[in-house]
């Protein structure tokens, strides 16, 4: 039997990493692959990807995800150019990158583990079932690529620290910085590089942190520069993309929700047999009060952190694995700050390092400390082997889940029907199939499962109106409106439902209230102008409302002209309350464009009837 060398160990891990994912080669696009790759022109040519280099990751107007990943998009474009858009090629490249990341991980692990231990750690990393989502779903490439980049940075930083000549140090510094910048353009997670490189150095007993000041200054400079760019391109949308589970929660409530979820994280890293593509409610429920489960999650998290620190000297491999995993998972843990995802298996791609290092350490430790007790050693080795086989089998059996979009949708629904998003996706599936009643049923069920998400009404109201069920539409719209009464989109749903019911006055009242609640919202103003048209309001009212809409949209010339037309026909004696309201709402625009007219009509308002004025002061009728 040939001796185990570093190269053979890496080759073995790479081959195993590829073998367990061979099944993906027959897969089609699945889930987010479709909007991000299959129907996204930026992913179809290299010139398209470079043109969109400084655009958010998600195509079109979906900028709320707060992501900027131009190099991932460029990799898709290269794949598309090479394969003419064949999904199998994309999957093959994902598989290769996973194998590459596994090879680099073995090199990283070799700093603290002997070769057999690092090999076992590498095999664990290769076959861990939590990786399936990242590897088998093409858009999971961002996770795998950033892992490759982070490992490359760590290895290059090690070379930098041990390089003797200034030229070699400059060379390795360049490699670190190029890898870092590339990683940052792959996924935001690469911000952890400075922390993991420091962790790597601190755990290295031969290291001298002071020697690496130039390294850290450079890494920080690149990271800050990227952060500034990212904030300008996509970062501003992060707050809008808060995960539905924790949206609107206070810090305490968020922690009450997320500490129980840490138990799921631990379970996924240790015994990941039950997997899910989506952890939205009620897979992970929203909790507004502290619970026993939250306490258990807190204690477990604390114990893991403590273990990572406690074994710093005795078992640096475990310390590195645990602390590295914490650093990699922290940005999306929702414990430090809110993120756009409550929990996703793909985000645990790097965190698997903890499991791999612990298993690798156990393997090598069983040979070092129990040399005379071959039975015990056999038990440990046998257990590890069994665990790896279980991991591999689960990975192989999980891969078909990601076969295509329909399979993901249906299987996810079958496995986790308590997930309201799965219900919504099924509803869209029914709608596309022409089964509107079933689509409406699923949308209403989704709302019942997780009533805190008002956006569900966007589906249920439209489906109900399509089916000619205005009362159902109104109930759904009202539910959303009650959750976020200042959001013009939900007010618009209520207006549409009220119109369908024939309640025109109520529709107008809601439209007016929406303008008061969101005075800068073009949606609210647009809705109101449509209401006035439908009501057959007087010409001057429509002119002034349209002028306000033009003003909001920046058409100042139009607004100015419409004000002139509208004001010329304002009746001298305002009697009807909506007329006073109309003029009152227009006063700020008049102040900006026609200050003299503003004064004149302010006087006119003062001479109006008390009833008229009280309406304008906020006496809006409830819907």
């Amino acid at each position: 039997m040939p001796a185990l060398t570093r190269f053979r160990a890496q080759l073995l891990c790479a081959v195993v990493a590829g073998m367990v994912y061979v099944g993906v080669l027959g897969h089609d696009w699945a889930g987010d692959d479709v909007p991000i790759i299959a129907t996204n022109v930026a992913a179809h040519s290299i010139s398209g990807a470079t043109s969109a280099f400084f655009s958010p990751y998600w195509p079109g107007d979906v900028t709320i995800s707060g992501q900027h990943r131009p190099l991932v998009m460029l990799s898709y474009a290269v794949d598309w150019t090479l394969s003419n858009g064949t999904p199998a090629w994309f999957h093959f490249v994902n598989l290769l990158i996973h194998a590459g990341a596994t090879v680099l991980f073995v090199s990283v692990a070799l700093a603290w583990l002997p070769l057999p231990g690092a090999t076992v750690a590498g095999l664990t990393f290769a076959v861990h079932p939590v990786h399936v989502e990242a590897v088998a779903n093409v858009v999971g490439r961002a996770e795998v690529l950033v892992a490759l980049g982070v490992f490359a940075c760590m290895l290059a930083a090690r070379h930098y620290r041990t390089a003797v000549t200034p030229r070699a140090r400059a060379g390795w510094l360049s490699v670190v910085l190029v890898s870092l910048l590339a990683s940052l353009f792959v996924k935001e997670h690469a911000v952890i590089v400075v922390a993991v490189v420091l962790l790597d150095e601190l755990l290295d007993s031969n290291g001298n942190p002071r020697r690496s000041a130039m390294l850290y200054a450079s890494i920080l400079a690149v990271t800050f520069g990227w952060l500034y760019l990212w904030t300008a391109i996509a970062g501003q949308f992060v707050s809008l993309a808060e995960a539905a589970t924790i949206r609107g929660l206070s810090t305490g409530e968020r922690l009450a929700t997320m500490f129980p979820a840490q138990l799921d994280v631990v379970r996924l890293l240790v015994f990941p047999l039950d997997l899910a593509a989506d952890y939205n409610p009620q897979v992970i429920p929203r909790r507004t009060e502290w619970s026993t489960l939250a306490t258990t999650g807190l204690l477990t998290t604390t114990a893991i952190v403590t273990l990572g620190v406690a074994v710093w000297r005795k078992a640096p491999a475990i310390a590195f694995g645990i602390l590295f995993a914490i650093m990699s998972y922290a940005p999306t843990s929702n414990l430090v700050f809110s993120s756009g995802i409550v929990l996703a298996e793909r985000n645990l791609y790097l965190a698997v390092v903890a499991t791999a290092m612990v298993i690798g350490w156990l393997f090598s430790h069983s040979f070092e400390t129990i040399p005379g007790r071959s039975g015990l050693r056999a038990l440990v080795v046998g257990s590890i082997a069994t665990l790896l086989v279980v991991y591999a089998v689960r990975t192989v059996t999980r891969v078909p889940f990601w076969r295509d979009s329909d399979n993901v949708l249906l299987m996810d629904y079958a496995e986790h029907s308590e997930n309201y998003r799965a219900r919504l996706r099924l509803g869209r599936f029914y709608r596309n199939a022409g089964n509107l009643p079933a689509a409406l049923t699923e949308a209403i069920t989704a709302g019942a499962i997780f009533p805190e998400d008002p956006w569900v009404a966007q589906y249920s109201v439209v489906r109900a109106l399509d089916l000619g069920l205005p009362d159902v539409a109104f109930a759904e719209a009202q539910r959303a409106y009650n959750i976020e009464p200042t959001h013009a989109s939900f007010a618009r749903l209520v207006v549409r439902a009220r119109f369908a019911q024939g309640e025109l006055d109520s529709a107008a009242a809601v439209a007016r209230r929406s303008i008061v609640a969101a005075p800068d919202s073009p949606i609210a103003m647009w809705t109101y102008t449509q209401v006035l048209d439908s009501l057959g309001a007087s010409r001057w009212q429509r002119h002034l409302a349209q002028a306000r809409f033009d003003f909001l949209e920046g058409r100042l010339g139009n607004a100015s002209a419409r004000i002139d037309s509208g004001l010329a026909t304002v009746p001298p004696d305002l009697a009807r309350p909506p007329e006073c309201w109309e003029l009152t709402q227009t006063i700020p625009v008049l102040r900006a464009l026609k200050p003299d007219a503003a004064d004149t009509f302010q006087l006119l308002l003062r001479s109006a009837t008390p009833e008229c004025r009280s309406f304008s002061a906020g006496g809006l009728r409830a819907p």
Binding site: F54, A217, L220, A221, Y228, A559, S560, R591, A592
Partner: protein, 493 residues
């Protein structure tokens, strides 16, 4: 008699490399600090171009990125920008090539300018670390000098000064290098020449570097540096001579630049004034007359103190100040790049004065405290609250409305006359000429269809009098109260 252990220890210490101290990495840390501070100081959503110089830099960068050359493409007949130094527009045109979408790509220019400041701080720190002073003291002075709100504000708009500072600092660092070679002298000349391509004050960097070599009796190096610098700038000078035919709209552009202070026609006599103003922003006027000479005194002592170890630094800084004193085209902003050196030399001068005699320590200490109190707290507050950006951001809403209206309501081929022509062009893409009092001739020749009044306090601003003078030639499209206005223009019959 040496014992065996002592010999072994001394041999070991001689053979093993010296363990670096944290202060050895001071220049990198100062560079990082200034870079991060400059990034933090950015005002992401402020409109650029209102200072004319920044607007013209961006228009030229756009033209260069499109392959049009050094032309002011916002004019109906593009005008060669012969009075603008080309290197900075060229550098930011590379940004325009990789990311053509304005104003989104401003973020890259901001990062670039912040990086220039960071690199400049690093280079200046490398330089002052060589001086015979406490490195911590000198590096702190560098960090303080670069923390000035005015210096940071240079990177907020698209000004050439951060790049100019990098080039000048690099030229000076190389000229002061020990073990100088002809290659080093050539590199110094190259950077000095490049600084001349970047800003007015660059010419004094060239003069300073060459003079420094000559005064050290290194005539060969002086010749090398001068020749290289000349070779660098000759193509640009030749081009400016070739296109020097300011007639028609070119004359309008030159006049516009003159109004904006780019080409002041008189000697400014500013000297140390702008630097002292940056140092003592919060002192009452009468105290300025006391503290100013003290600062100048410390600065003078500092110059003399480092002349032996850094002759090029002393000569370049002195030459630049002298030049700024006398040169008609140097505006205070150009001189600001000297401020970090000014603070360092002042600090060194104070340190020297402290050690000169025991009797002078108390007045020196008091003077140093006065200067520090005048500079540090005000600077900290100004930077922390981004006070320098208040006027920029204050006009944001109005300008946004003006540009939005032009974009959605005017035809693509509209020609606009405006008092912020570069900015209006950048944000609307329309052809724009400067506002003029002789409107009937200039506007009609240029085919002006609209007049945009920004209501900004800029040189040559359109006022009510000019609008009234236009009479029936203009009709109001809209006029925002206390804000910009847009008029439709027709040629008078």
């Amino acid at each position: 008699m040496l014992t065996r252990s002592v010999v072994v220890k001394s041999m070991a210490s001689a053979m093993s490399p010296r363990q670096p101290r944290l202060i050895d990495y001071g220049p990198q840390l100062v560079g990082l600090f200034v870079f991060v501070l400059a990034l933090w100081a950015q005002v992401g959503d402020a409109f650029v171009g209102r200072f004319m110089g920044d607007g013209l830099n961006l228009v030229l960068a756009k033209a260069l990125a499109r392959g049009d050359g050094m032309l002011l493409i916002h004019f109906p007949d593009a005008v060669p920008a012969r009075w603008i130094h080309p290197l900075y527009p060229f550098v930011i045109s590379l940004v325009g090539k990789v990311w053509p979408t304005f104003p989104d790509n401003l973020v890259l220019i901001q990062i670039l300018d912040s990086a220039f400041l960071g690199v400049a701080a690093w280079i200046v720190s490398l330089h002052v670390r060589r001086l015979d002073f406490s490195p911590l003291y000198a590096l702190t002075a560098v960090a303080l000098g670069f923390s000035s709100a005015s210096i940071l504000s240079l990177s907020v708009s698209a000004f050439a000064e951060p790049l100019l500072l990098v080039l000048a600092a690099g030229a000076v660092l190389l000229a002061d290098r020990k073990g100088l070679s002809r290659w080093t002298a050539a590199a110094s000349g190259l950077l000095a020449g490049a600084s001349m391509l970047t800003g007015n004050i660059g010419v004094f960097v060239v003069v300073g570097v060459v003079t420094a070599f000559a005064l050290q009796k290194r005539v060969g190096f002086a010749v090398v540096a001068a020749v290289v610098a000349t070779i660098v700038v000759i193509p640009w000078l030749a081009w400016t001579i070739r296109v020097a035919d300011p007639t028609g709209l070119a004359a309008v552009a030159v006049e516009s630049a003159r109004q904006a202070g780019e080409l002041d026609g008189v000697i400014s006599w500013q000297g140390l004034g702008p630097l002292v103003n940056l140092l003592l922003p919060s002192l009452p006027r009468w105290m300025m007359f006391v503290a100013g000479p003290i600062a100048a005194g410390f600065f003078g002592v500092g110059l003399l103190s480092v002349f032996r170890t850094a002759p090029a630094l002393v000569i370049v800084v002195s030459t630049c100040i002298m030049g700024a004193w006398l040169h008609p085209a140097v505006v205070p902003r150009n001189e600001w790049i000297l401020f970090p050196w000014f603070v360092v030399l002042l600090a060194i001068g104070a340190s020297r004065s402290w050690g000169y005699a025991r009797q002078t320590r108390i007045p020196v200490f008091l003077a140093f405290v006065v200067l520090s109190v005048a500079y540090v707290p005000r600077t900290a507050v100004s930077v922390a609250s981004r006070q320098y950006a208040a006027s920029l951001v204050g006009q944001n809403d109005f300008l946004r409305r003006l540009f939005l209206s032009i974009n959605v309501e005017l035809p693509e081929d509209a020609v606009i006359a405006s008092d912020a022509e570069a900015m209006v062009h950048l944000y609307t893409g329309r052809l724009v000429i400067p506002a003029r009092s002789d409107f009937s001739r200039t506007y009609c020749n240029a085919g002006v269809t609209h007049v945009a009044r920004t209501n900004l306090p800029v040189p040559g601003a359109i006022d009510d009098e000019l609008i009234r003078a236009m009479g029936s030639s203009v009709s109001t499209v809209f006029s925002l109260t206390d804000g910009p206005s847009l008029y439709h223009f027709t040629c008078p019959r």
